[in-house]
């Protein structure tokens, strides 16, 4: 006998059939079904194989805690393993496949593990596979992973989109059961901003399967009316299919909304999942309670189910568990199920109650066996009989389904996410949430409150208390009248059960059974945290939602103490698994990070630029021309053209900072290691910025445009960092200085015009006199362009070593000015050049970048020792620069290096060895920081940091590439390969 769909009843839409398949077998379900209810309706009791022993497993729960019914759904790129059938809504065409079985679910070779089980107990992996160690990676781990697998993820890219959102409210209510709905209604009616989230597809929680009548309505109709009222309130947001998975500091809750996980073909304009961060002034947990399994032999056999889950399948989905059901209970929950089964005309074979008597008011027909336990189940792939121990004898009763009701554990995970521990309540036989939590309250079954009326009352009262704390007045709501609700007595927990034969499972998902717990205690792992790790109980993807309290109860019993003394393990987010997609949100692939574009981006693109990503920027790397087959050909041409004619390079990405204020000069004097106090207006100066430890942080030119106005440039890479640093200095170190900073990187497009003919080109558009006499090297000033049509900032600075200028124009005019320059420069051979040529030109001139300024160098290492001011009272890095180690004679210092054989080459990062020295780290003399083919020299050249470098010019060395075992004989030389006397700069 198997489960089946009843002819009537439930909240499913019988007019809307849905076709789906399980392991390729076509099946039919109804709109409103979960995959689990649809499987049960089709008589599919066996849905998976267990993790370790490959035991046949069925559907145990009707919700988020499901440990057994994990299936793979979807196909191809939408394949999703480890989906809980109990929460997956059914949709037309859903394809589900069972997991962890081979070759088939019915006949599974791995089930032989069951025979090996004496060797597979707790600690088995630790004991068996520890040695020999090398075998772990090669043999044991792959074997174990194959045998004890969950579902397999697809390797294809996820085709769906995800997003994140923030939300704010006065009150967040988690859970839309009786307590949550009442709380949201109370707060909503008072005008508070309320967010109510529920993991289910419709609000109602336990109301959706309770048969009580509320104000003359069915419980589910009551839930529907309450949610309709909530939805009509503009100040309330009701979010279904949304799991609040974590409570974080600042009273922020993480939640994941499954926007389209119930859709066959997700609509492209919506994400499939949305990650919410909800900032709540106050929050109320109305998360309900989890029913506990009972630990008896074969409690994992398909057909054995939680009593409350059986009620849910019966009342909400119209699915009967079988034709002859037994109920094993230690509390009143079992009797509610019995009443509902009876009402649906399903035979209840027996109620096995561990307590001495049935509830006094119970008038049902089924046989009650009091003072009794189920010690084991029998059957092959589903339960066919149970063995009941009572009155000192054992009785076998034929059944086709068994419900178990071990008492309720309030769902308090969120309340424990910020470090507070739950406490054991003997009275409620449950762990309750820690008390006096800041801005978080608990109501309803989550607070161990029993009964719909009491939950509604408490939800409403807690909301009113929260509103009064927030200063929002509210009228107490009239409480509904609840009929047909039975009184519930607190239950004494039933941990260990006598007469068990076979495996009695504690943690279903990780296949941890009773004997494992005993073994852990005997072997000294009785502490709750140790037992968890030793037995793996509670470590599966369900995080022990069903098993943890039983494991604690059993540990307590084995150690002869109260569960209070055992305590719980630590609760951590996430309450249920959250997909990486949701955590990533929209920022994946091309949108992983924003793109930052230079105002000359489109100009470069139309001139044929090849772009390179530099941080967030896209910079033009080179500009290929017809006939050029390699990037080197283009770069060489661009370099030669700058040296012979003139080139134009976009340097807009350099950081630009405007510095104003009466103390601006003093401020710069403190942040740079060289002097800036007396820089004349109209002049630019190269500046070196140190860190407090004395090492160089960044470099750039800073120009004085007015008495209290400077214009600083930074490197592209450190633009943001330098701005933060300057703000730190101005605000945190020297707030007494009048200095004001503004980032102007995006305001100005900056172009370098470099080459012997640069002035000839610029004279055509710059109105001012730019002759060397009027505008010498390092001059800086505002100029007018094209007959006063535009004003620009003009600097005579050079990175290439040629006669060069930088022209800064407001960004919106950048393309126009670049076009005009290209036009004006055509007769002089003006060509654009990119960052590759820029790099070659600066290496030829011995100019450093962050390849050399790599965090290990001080000014003297780069030949800038004389720049460091000896007279300034203080500047960033001054004191630490005086350290002994930074004055050592054998520091690595900047030199040039080139191969003895001009046809040879070497790579950046290669190390320098003495001529005949062995290639060892001990013999390491330094390394190449930058290298390039120099068209000017005609061979590869490099800059290198070498011990005592400048004293060794002319020494023959070997450049050693340890990665490729390449050796290039080379010679150390002056790092300035072009125009060492700087004549070209001044023409």
């Amino acid at each position: 006998m198997t489960s089946y769909r009843l002819a009537t009843g439930g909240l499913v839409n019988r007019a809307a059939p849905l076709a789906f398949s399980f392991d390729g077998k076509p099946m039919a379900g109804l709109e409103g079904d979960t995959l689990a209810s649809a499987l049960l309706a089709n008589g599919q009791m066996l849905v998976g194989r267990s993790f370790k022993y490959h035991r046949p497993r069925g559907i145990l729960t009707a919700g988020a805690s499901e440990p057994n019914a994990l299936v793979t759904i979807g196909r191809r790129e939408r394949t999703e393993p480890n989906t809980r059938a109990t929460v997956q809504e059914l949709y037309e065409g859903l394809e589900a496949r069972s997991q962890n079985r081979w070759p088939s679910l019915d006949f599974d070779v791995g089930a032989l593990n069951g025979l090996l089980s004496p060797f597979l107990g707790a600690g088995f992996y630790y004991k068996t596979f520890m040695w020999p160690a090398p075998l772990w990676e090669k043999l044991y781990e792959p074997f174990i992973r194959r045998a004890a697998g969950l579902g397999k993820a697809t390797h294809e890219a996820d085709p769906d989109s995800y997003e994140k959102s923030w939300a704010h409210c006065d009150l967040l209510v988690v859970g839309a059961g009786p307590a949550g709905l009442a709380a949201a209604l109370t707060a909503g009616r008072a005008g508070a901003r309320v967010i109510l989230v529920d993991e289910g597809s419709m609000p109602g929680g336990s109301l959706l399967f309770d048969t009580a009548m509320i104000d003359g309505m069915t419980a589910s109709d009551f839930a529907r009316e309450a949610s309709a009222e909530l939805q009509s309130m503009p100040n309330v947001r009701l979010m279904t299919r949304t799991t609040a998975f974590g409570w974080y500091d600042g009273n922020v809750f993480g939640a994941v909304e499954r926007v389209q996980k119930h859709a066959c073909d997700p609509a492209s304009h919506l994400p499939v999942e949305r990650l919410w961060r909800i900032v709540a002034k106050q929050a109320l947990l109305a998360t309900g309670a989890e029913e506990r399994p009972l630990v008896f032999g074969g409690n994992d056999r398909p057909g054995v189910m939680m009593a409350s889950a059986m009620r849910a399948y019966l009342n909400r989905y119209g699915v009967a568990p079988g034709k002859a059901t037994a109920i094993f209970t230690c509390n009143d929950s079992g009797y509610r199920l019995a009443r509902d089964l009876e009402a649906a005309g399903i035979e209840v074979t027996a109620i096995v109650d561990s307590r001495p008597t049935a509830p006094p008011g119970y008038r049902g027909r089924p046989r009650v066996i009091a003072n009794a336990v189920v010690c084991q189940t029998k059957g092959n792939k589903s339960v066919s009989a149970i063995e009941v121990l009572h009155d000192g004898r054992s009785e076998t009763i034929a059944v086709d389904a068994l419900a178990m009701a071990g008492g309720f554990s309030p769902i308090i995970h969120l309340a424990c996410h910020r470090g507070s521990r739950p406490f054991w309540s003997e009275e409620n036989a449950a762990f309750l949430a820690p008390q006096d939590l800041k801005d978080l309250r608990i109501a309803g079954a989550a607070a161990a409150t029993v009964g719909i009326a009491a939950c509604i009352q408490e939800g409403s009262a807690q909301a009113a208390a929260i509103l009064s704390e927030l200063g929002i007045s509210c009228r107490p709501a009239a409480l509904p009248n609840v009929e047909a609700e039975e009184e519930s007595r607190p239950a004494k927990p039933l941990w260990s059960i006598p007469g068990i034969k076979g495996k009695a499972f504690v943690d279903f998902q990780n296949d941890v059974h009773l004997k494992d717990i005993g073994l852990a205690v005997r072997e000294g792992y009785g502490h709750v945290e140790l037992a968890k790790r030793y037995t793996t109980s509670g470590m599966a993807t369900d995080q022990g939602k069903l098993s943890n309290v039983n494991a604690i109860g059993l540990l307590a019993e084995a150690r002869g103490v109260s569960p209070a003394e055992i305590g719980t393990t630590t609760f951590r987010p996430f309450y249920t698994p959250v997909s990486f997609g949701a955590l990533t949100g929209a920022h994946s692939g091309y949108h992983f990070q924003p793109v930052r574009k230079s105002p000359l981006h489109d100009w470069a693109a139309k001139n044929g630029a090849i772009f390179v990503e530099t941080g967030l920027w896209y910079r033009s790397a080179w500009f290929p021309r017809g006939g050029e087959k390699t990037w080197r050909e283009s770069v060489d041409r661009e370099v030669v053209n700058v040296r012979q004619n003139v080139g134009l390079c976009d340097v807009s990405t350099l950081g630009k900072i405007e510095i104003f204020g009466a103390d601006a000069a003093e401020f710069l004097n403190r942040v740079y290691c060289n002097a800036f106090l007396k820089l004349p207006v109209g002049k630019a100066r190269y500046g070196l910025m140190l860190r407090e430890d004395g090492f160089i942080y960044d470099d750039g030119t800073t120009s004085r445009l007015g008495e209290g106005h400077f214009f600083m440039t930074t490197t592209t890479a450190y633009a943001a960092g330098v701005m933060n640093h300057l703000e730190f200095c101005a605000q945190a170190l020297w707030p007494e200085l009048d200095v004001r900073l503004a980032s102007a990187t995006d305001q100005w497009a900056q172009m370098a015009i470099a080459g012997p003919k640069a002035r000839l080109v610029l004279e055509k558009i710059v109105d001012d006199d730019i002759s060397s006499a009027a505008f010498p090297f390092l001059a800086a000033k505002e100029v007018s362009l094209c007959g006063g049509k535009l004003h620009a900032r003009f600097f005579r600075i050079s990175f290439s070593g040629e006669l060069a200028y930088e022209l800064a124009v407001p960004a919106g005019y950048a393309e126009s000015i670049a076009d005009i320059l290209m036009n004006a420069g055509a007769e002089h051979g003006l060509q654009p050049y990119g960052t590759e040529a820029l790099g070659v030109l600066r290496i030829e001139k011995g100019h450093v970048t962050h390849s050399e300024i790599n965090g290990t160098v001080i000014p003297d290492d780069l030949g800038f020792g004389k720049m460091v001011s000896a007279t300034k009272a203080d500047f960033i890095g001054k004191v630490m620069l005086e350290r002994e180690g930074l004055k050592a004679a054998d520091r690595l210092r900047l030199v040039g290096v080139r191969p003895l054989d001009p046809t040879a080459s070497f790579k950046t990062g290669s190390h320098i060895l003495e001529k005949n020295a062995a290639a060892t780290l001990e013999n390491d003399q330094g390394y190449v920081t930058s290298s390039a083919f120099s068209p000017h020299i005609g061979c590869t050249i490099g800059l290198a940091l070498v011990k005592r470098g400048p004293e060794r010019l002319g020494e023959e060395v070997v450049v050693w590439n340890g990665l490729k075992s390449e050796y290039a004989p080379a010679i150390l030389c002056d790092p300035i390969f072009v125009d060492p006397t700087n004549e070209r700069l001044h023409v």
Binding site: D249, R277, D874
Partner: protein
């Protein structure tokens, strides 16, 4: 997932908007000696409990703040503008 810092200028904002620098230490005078400077540059306490740190509201008002944070509970306490904190220290 969140961590809200109450910027005195902008209100509560998530940590993604901030850049954290580390412990609030006062910069020694240039003649304070190497030991004081070594402490300032290299040595850090690793307190359990209340910790004062520099946070920069990089994607907000761009002010440096002195944030008092509990390293155990993550609770963020008093947040003050760093310039105000420094000036208060100079002229008590």
């Amino acid at each position: 997932m969140a961590s809200l810092i109450s910027c005195p200028h902008c209100g509560a904002r998530p940590k993604e908007e901030f850049t954290i620098k580390g412990a609030v230490l006062s910069r020694p005078a240039a003649d304070a000696g190497h030991q004081a400077w070594t402490d300032y540059v290299y040595l850090r306490d690793n307190p359990r409990g209340t910790h004062r740190e520099y946070w920069h509201h990089t994607s907000g008002c761009r002010r440096w703040l002195v944030v008092t944070r509990d390293t155990v509970s993550h609770e963020v306490g008093f947040c003050q503008d760093a310039a105000a904190a420094k000036l208060a220290e100079v002229r008590p």
